[in-house]
């Protein structure tokens, strides 16, 4: 008995957390899936209605638009955050005097909620109040920067603000990665005559695979959940040009009395996560196992 207990203690310790996750994550996902098969409107109802909600979802032009936006957003957001994060971390790693200050500057956006930084961004990006006005006031009368109000570009303004909020965190992750690399490796490569650029590209960055993984997990979770950002900046507009799945789902569930339809869209979001993220994570985990 004692032996059994000791042997299984790790599992017993994880068990409560796992039970909680099982209920609050997987149970709720199943609940959502079931609700997507009902006619639920204003409040959840449990009579079965087949896959009608899913058919309605995929014949809704607004949904397609939201999905398309999510793809554009995610690709740009992840790539740009990684790029800026890597560049900033490498720059900061050059033994800068004001590093502490600059680091805080790059990192602080993560600390603020978007409820109001959204307003500041809205003003900055608004052509009649922000950057465009600033430049025209300075005499560059032909300067235009109207992405916020341009339906073809509005999704990119969301990328700008989202990158602002999250790239500092990626910077921190990579800076940490750079700091933990043995100096000797770099010195050895320098003696061999490698340029700084090629040292970073061929030696250092490949060593940071785990950092890439953490960053991608964090960035993907932000982009899939992005709601506050969109609401604060464009509220999905102009028109519905910057709509996103999380916004669509919230609207349908809580403001349009279409909980069934909203659940169908939520199921699609879960499936996307399953299809894209899980295989990637799993292969990463296995690789780490092989390495360690």
């Amino acid at each position: 008995m004692f032996y059994w207990l000791q042997k299984n203690l790790p599992k017993i310790v994880i068990a409560p957390s796992f039970a909680v996750i099982l209920w609050f994550v997987y149970g709720f996902v199943l609940w959502t899936f079931y609700i997507s098969l009902t006619k639920s409107k204003m409040l959840p109802r449990y009579e079965f209605w087949g896959i009608n909600q899913h058919i309605r979802l995929w014949s809704n032009p607004r949904w397609f638009n939201a999905v398309e936006n999510l793809i554009i957003f995610t690709v740009l957001f992840v790539i740009i955050c990684l790029l800026i994060g890597i560049i900033l971390s490498i720059l900061l790693d050059q033994k800068i005097r004001a590093e502490g200050f600059l680091r805080t500057v790059y990192l602080y956006p993560m600390a603020l909620s978007f409820i109001v930084t959204g307003t500041a961004w809205k003003w900055i990006l608004n052509p009649t109040m922000g950057i465009e006005k600033l430049f025209t006031d300075w005499g560059f009368t032909n300067f235009t920067f109207d992405w916020l109000v341009n339906r073809d570009m509005s999704i990119y303004t969301i990328v700008i603000a989202a990158v602002w909020q999250s790239s500092g965190f990626v910077m921190a992750l990579f800076l940490a990665g750079l700091r933990s690399i043995d100096d000797e490796i770099v010195k050895a490569a320098k003696i061999d005559g490698a340029s700084l650029y090629s040292i970073y590209i061929t030696i250092i960055l490949p060593m940071m695979r785990p950092v890439f993984m953490s960053s991608i997990v964090i960035l993907l979770h932000i982009s899939i959940k992005s709601y506050d950002l969109v609401i604060a900046l464009t509220a999905g507009g102009p028109g519905i040009s910057s709509d996103m799945p999380a916004v669509f789902m919230t609207q349908m569930a809580f403001h349009r009395s279409q909980i069934g339809l909203a659940s169908a869209s939520a199921v699609m979001m879960f499936l996307t996560v399953l299809a894209i993220v899980v295989p990637y994570l799993y292969s990463e985990l296995r690789r780490q196992d092989a390495n360690s």
Binding site: M42, N126, T128, D146, V149, S154, G236, P238, I240, R256
Partner: protein
């Protein structure tokens, strides 16, 4: 003091750490009301304070539960999670057909406040139209209480700007278009607008009421007649929307309504279409109606688009809560409350017998127009503010309007999509 705080903190942390089983249970004397609302600042908050005070005088305990944002969007989320948890608030700020929608979900019965309404004879105090909005169970029993009537179809205009260009307030949409063109060539933004879906919809319904007429509004927007939605009159309405879009400025998308109002106030822009809460912005800046600015209805055949704010009362258990509901309902319908509340709020009383002497010119105009429109069939529910339709249909229509207004979609296409979207949302 300091130590007390620390002590409190430690105590609360300790209790929270083992919290799972603890239920907070407050026992209160007299009636108790937990009220979910989104009136959290300025005139709205002041107006609501009147109600809180009145309720307190009746011996009730008011538990404030404000959740602002998106004209009630955030409060909607809160409300639904409370109802699903099986613990709805005593009263919440819900209006229009959504009241009946909640009733159909079975969470409003057994209509505790109906008794109060019967004994106070609300039927005689309210116009039948307003009264109907407040009734559940097949429009037979009162389940909600109205606080005010907002008019939506207002033109707000800068008088100095109009005067200096020799213009009068337009009485038809053609006149408006002509005046706006003139202003535009003079370098003034003719139409101040904030491009948010609800604002687009606000303008749309005013235009529709003017161009289509009262009957058309009833058919298309209230009855959702497919022919009306996709027909040639609707195309004309969208044509006018396109013209209005040409009169806006570049900063329009996403702009808050009050920023647009400020543009009218400082003469950058000439006109705005907005409900009568816009008045608060003008009077805060010390401007006077008729002297500095105009508040006149948008051109229509004596149409009047109303928005009645109201509180719905859910099914409750426990005497104290039910008492609270009854006391609150009676407070809301109080004559004095309705007067003071609406002076702060910018609207007019829902009760018909409140004297209007202390109200301003715009409100007086609104009250007399209301009576006339009610007689001639022009008194119609605002769809943009959730008085005409259920949320699914309202949302579907709003999507099309805002898509059209913010793109170069043709009017015909818009009308066709309108009908399709409504069909799909059913």
């Amino acid at each position: 003091m300091e130590r007390e705080m620390v002590k409190k903190l430690i105590a609360s942390i300790a209790s929270l750490a083992f919290a799972a089983g603890i239920i907070y249970n407050t026992v209160l004397a007299g009636g108790e009301a937990e009220v979910l609302h989104w009136w959290t600042s300025g005139g709205e908050a002041k107006a609501l304070q009147v109600l809180k005070d009145d309720f307190a005088k009746k011996g009730g305990t008011w538990k404030d539960m404000p959740v602002a944002g998106g004209g009630g969007d955030a409060a909607n989320v809160t409300l639904k999670s409370r109802i699903v948890a099986g613990d709805p608030p005593t009263a919440s700020q819900i209006k229009g057909p959504t009241i009946q929608e909640y009733d159909e979900e079975g969470v409003v019965a057994p209509y505790h406040i109906h008794e109060v309404a019967k004994s106070e004879n609300w039927d005689s105090l309210l116009s039948s139209q307003v009264a109907n909005h407040m009734k559940c169970d097949g429009f037979t029993k009162y389940c909600a209480a109205p606080v005010n009537i907002h008019r939506i179809d207002w033109f707000w205009a800068n008088k100095k700007v109009l005067d200096s260009h020799g213009l009068k307030m337009p009485t038809s949409w053609d006149e408006f278009n002509a005046a706006a063109s003139k202003l535009k060539s003079a370098g003034i933004i003719p139409f101040a607008h904030g491009g948010q879906p609800w604002q687009d919809a606000t303008v749309f319904e005013a235009v529709l009421l003017g161009i289509g007429g009262n009957e058309f509004y009833q058919k298309a927007i209230v009855e959702l007649d497919m022919n009306a939605l996709s027909g040639s009159t609707m195309v004309k309405v969208f044509d006018q929307m396109r013209k209005l879009q040409g009169f806006t400025d570049k900063g329009m998308p996403g702009r808050d309504w009050n920023v647009a109002t400020a543009m009218v106030m400082n003469g950058k822009a000439a006109f705005q279409i907005m409900g009568d809460w816009a008045k608060g912005e003008f009077s805060n800046a010390g401007l006077k109606p008729g002297v500095d600015y105009y508040c006149l209805p948008t051109p229509s055949d004596h149409g009047y688009l109303y928005n009645v704010d109201s509180f719905i009362f859910y099914g409750m258990k426990g005497k104290s809560k039910i008492d609270g509901q009854k006391a609150l309902a009676s407070s809301i319908m109080g004559k004095n409350f309705q007067k003071i509340f609406n002076i702060y709020k910018g609207s007019i009383p829902a009760r018909l017998d409140v004297p209007m002497d202390e109200f301003d010119m715009c409100a007086k105009g609104s009250a007399s127009d209301l009576k006339y429109s009610a007689m001639t069939g022009g008194l119609l529910p605002s769809f943009a503010h959730g008085m005409a339709l259920r949320n699914a249909q309202k949302g579907a229509i709003q999507d099309v309007i805002t898509e059209h207004f913010n793109s170069n979609m043709s009017s015909k296409e818009a009308a066709r999509r309108l009908a399709d979207a409504v069909q799909a949302s059913m």
